[in-house]
């Protein structure tokens, strides 16, 4: 069997709220997860169980208290910032729930940016961006505009286009089909299936059960990692 692209072992997470009486919130312990190329694993569990927290630890914007988080050859739990940046540039993609962009940057460039950062020539990067925006039904007249004024669903599709622009070997998807209409939801699920077919290892959070059962090969219940739960 091929080696996993994403492999977590014995990961723990605790938040300490220094300005709220030093409250300590243990969220996860002994968390493990393994995703092979072409596989999509869904994170499930009650609201507040720590699905997004686990995903953010893989992305590296939440610090793991302990454990290892191997992603395409890099241990995110130990890597220096520039190693994590290099990982995000070429090997790890992330569709977060919210789009965050520099104001004034045209939508087409927002989507092409991950490719430009990798040194893809401008024309090829823009062509790929245009193809994804068209598939996700963002009208062409919006491409030259900044997405900051777009509707929630439009922003989410821009975010998805950006996340799928470069074929990363590992991909994180936080609610990629939330707030999408049926046609766009279908497109996103097709994009996920295509990513799996080319060998991407995917971790996803889907509240949409039908979507989850269609694209996920397995689910991992994050509540199993709640501290104190045997």
């Amino acid at each position: 069997m091929t080696d996993p692209v994403i492999h977590l072992e014995d990961v723990a997470k605790t938040f300490t709220l220094h300005n709220q009486g030093g409250a300590v919130i243990p969220v996860l312990e002994r968390a493990g997860l393994s995703v092979r190329p072409g596989e999509c694993v869904g994170l499930v569990g009650a609201s507040g169980a720590g699905k997004s927290t686990l995903m953010r630890m893989i992305w590296g914007n939440y610090l793991a208290a302990s454990g290892t988080i191997m992603v395409a050859g890099t241990d995110v739990a130990r890597a220096a910032p520039r190693e994590i940046l290099a990982l995000r540039r070429g090997r790890l993609g992330y569709v977060s729930q919210f789009l965050r962009v520099v104001p004034r940057v045209p939508t087409l460039d927002v989507v092409a940016e991950p490719l430009l950062d990798l040194g893809v020539p401008e024309e090829a990067a823009r062509a790929r961006a245009a193809e994804l925006l068209a598939r996700l039904r963002i009208p062409e007249r919006l491409w030259p505009l900044s997405p900051t004024t777009f509707s929630g669903g439009e922003q989410q599709r821009v975010n998805i286009a950006r996340g799928f622009a470069h074929p990363s070997p590992a991909l994180l998807l936080d609610e990629p089909t939330a707030s999408l209409d049926a046609a766009n939801r279908e497109t996103v699920l097709a994009l996920i299936e295509e990513a799996k077919a080319r060998g991407a290892a995917i971790v996803g959070i889907f509240h949409d059960e039908a979507a989850r059962s269609r694209v996920c090969d397995r689910v991992v219940n994050v509540s199993d990692f709640t501290p104190g739960a045997a």
Binding site: F15, T16, L17, Y62, L63, V102, R104
Partner: protein
């Protein structure tokens, strides 16, 4: 890869008061580091020490020079340091008046930097200046106007052109978007991001604006009372701050 800048045990005191102390970090080519903290936390003191405007009381600021490799700029001879400041380094001041010559035309402000590094051909200097004004979105028919006739945002863009025209490898910026209204800030941010990527610049940016560092900086350093209290990947420090002071800083702004 050799870091472009290696800072070790940097300290600056103002009498008994601490300006900054115990500061150390590596900055690699192409990296942008943000420094945040409340006013008086030592950000600008640190930046001045890094850029050679202030002499630190202790520590090293090792810069990877083009010809001699890594050299401590604190102990290097003054003429050598001046040369670095004119060629490989750039400093963008918060107030454009501190970085521009207000009595000289826009074109002159940019051309002057070129002449300081030996450019002599007038026609070429003027066309390079024109090219740079274009890159910072200043119309070419403003080339003979003085910066005093420009808006704050234009002055700041002119200052950036003046600084980048000589192809520096390291840019220091002190609150580059401070004092500008939000839409002008956005334009400047977009411009800075594009330049940093296209030119492969490294930069150290001091600001108190967390939204600015979120968009511009790869890494973040949080200062309090002259000391570094937290460092890390920018989104990690902002989304999962570890130190009490950083948590306070992040929680006291609306959504960054």
């Amino acid at each position: 890869m050799t870091p472009l800048l290696q800072v070790r045990g940097l300290e600056k005191r103002y009498g008994a008061r601490i300006g900054c102390t115990g500061v150390g970090f590596d900055l690699y080519p192409g990296e942008v580091m943000g420094i945040v903290g409340e006013s008086g936390s030592g950000k600008s003191t640190l930046l001045s020490c890094l850029a050679g405007h202030l002499r630190p009381d202790a520590g090293q600021v090792i810069f990877d020079t083009r010809h001699k490799g890594p050299v401590d700029t604190v102990t290097m001879a003054e003429p050598e340091r001046r040369m670095l400041a004119r060629t490989d380094w750039a400093f963008v001041h918060q107030n454009p008046r501190d970085g521009l010559r207000m009595g000289v035309s826009a074109g002159g402000n940019v051309g002057e930097r070129l002449m300081a590094v030996g450019a002599r051909n007038y026609g070429r200097i003027r066309s390079t200046a024109e090219d740079w004004l274009g890159r910072v979105e200043i119309a070419s028919d403003r080339i003979d106007d003085r910066p005093s006739a420009f808006s704050g945002g234009m002055q700041q863009r002119l200052q950036i052109a003046r600084n980048l025209v000589t192809g520096p490898r390291l840019v220091f910026m002190d609150e580059p978007t401070g004092g500008l209204d939000v839409s002008v800030q956005a334009r400047l941010l977009d411009l800075l991001r594009g330049l940093v990527r296209r030119l492969g610049l490294s930069a150290v940016i001091v600001t108190h604006d967390l939204a600015v560092v979120r968009l511009l900086a790869d890494r973040l350093m949080v200062m309090k009372g002259g000391r570094v209290v937290e460092t890390g990947l920018t989104d990690q420090v902002l989304d999962d701050p570890q130190h009490a002071y950083t948590q306070l800083l992040v929680s006291s702004v609306l959504q960054v």
